[in-house]
């Protein structure tokens, strides 16, 4: 029988993979994608709790998380486009104008 723990562990694994992607990749597009992976892992947690605790609020909140994630991806990609136009690279180690 699939219990809540299975879904929570799967969500933890996906979240850790997202964090690894954000920390270890230098391509800005891949970092944004790993961010989306983290948000999806949290969505899975919400929906699993919604099912196992019998409340619909988890799914409603998952919908709002999707809204926020879509908005964030749009703005993040616009920033990536602007950075590429300005400095010709999307390697995050090269974008260090604000480093002291």
């Amino acid at each position: 029988m699939v219990t809540l723990h299975h879904y929570l562990l799967l969500s933890a694994i996906l979240f850790s993979l997202g964090v690894i992607g954000v920390m270890f990749r230098r391509n800005l597009i891949v970092i944004l994608m790993s961010l989306e992976l983290m948000l999806n892992a949290v969505n899975l947690t919400f929906i699993a709790f919604s099912r196992y605790l019998g409340s619909i609020e988890g799914q409603v909140f998952a919908l709002f998380i999707m809204v926020v994630a879509a908005a964030e991806v749009a703005v993040g990609l616009a920033i990536a486009v602007a950075i590429y136009r300005q400095s010709g690279t999307i390697d995050v180690n090269e974008i260090d104008l604000m480093k002291w």
Partner: protein
């Protein structure tokens, strides 16, 4: 039977997520991300959240990932030289820390026990009288109406912001 389906879907999702994080070319990352989104949507259907699953496919796999593809094609990122990701030692250290993190998280996960471990029989019209969409709609338009409206304002702000930021300077 449900366990078999869950393990198959979970394996597909985790392997796709690994490919998203590890592969070198951005196009491959995007394609495996689409696979991850569809795997997650299938898991949502397994959890009886059909509306959220369909929204996931339409919004994430259908719009967000296509937006990523547009940006990669627009900026012609495939022609860029590969950036070197960190040395192998850092990858191994990072993966070891991630495994340690999950292992430390296990007691917290185990603490979330429902009384029997089985999914709660849905009081949400579980006799099939109400579909998942109807239950979500009933909550979304009565109790959560204010966040719903704020979400539309947020989307408007995001659209305007994205257009302004990505505009070509005249």
């Amino acid at each position: 039977m449900e366990a078999v389906i869950f393990y198959v879907l979970a394996t597909v999702t985790v392997v796709s997520a690994l490919c998203v994080v590890m592969l070198r070319r951005p196009i491959h990352n995007i394609l495996f991300m689409i696979m991850t989104m569809i795997g997650l949507a299938a898991l949502y259907i397994l959890l009886h959240a059909e509306f959220v699953a369909m929204v996931q496919i339409v919004v994430y796999a259908g719009a967000v990932m296509v937006l990523f593809l547009f940006v990669i094609m627009l900026l012609n990122l495939e022609q860029m030289p590969f950036v070197d990701d960190p040395r192998a030692a850092r990858w191994y250290g990072g993966i070891a820390l991630a495994v340690a993190f999950i292992v430390l998280l296990l007691p917290a996960i185990k603490a979330y026990t429902t009384k029997t471990g089985a999914p709660c029989p849905l009081p949400l019209g579980s006799d099939g009288a109400l579909s998942n969409t109807q239950v979500i709609a009933r909550e979304l338009f009565t109790t959560y109406l204010l966040p719903f409206e704020i979400a539309s304002v947020l989307l408007l702000a995001a659209i305007i912001g994205a257009v302004i930021i990505a505009r070509r300077k005249p």
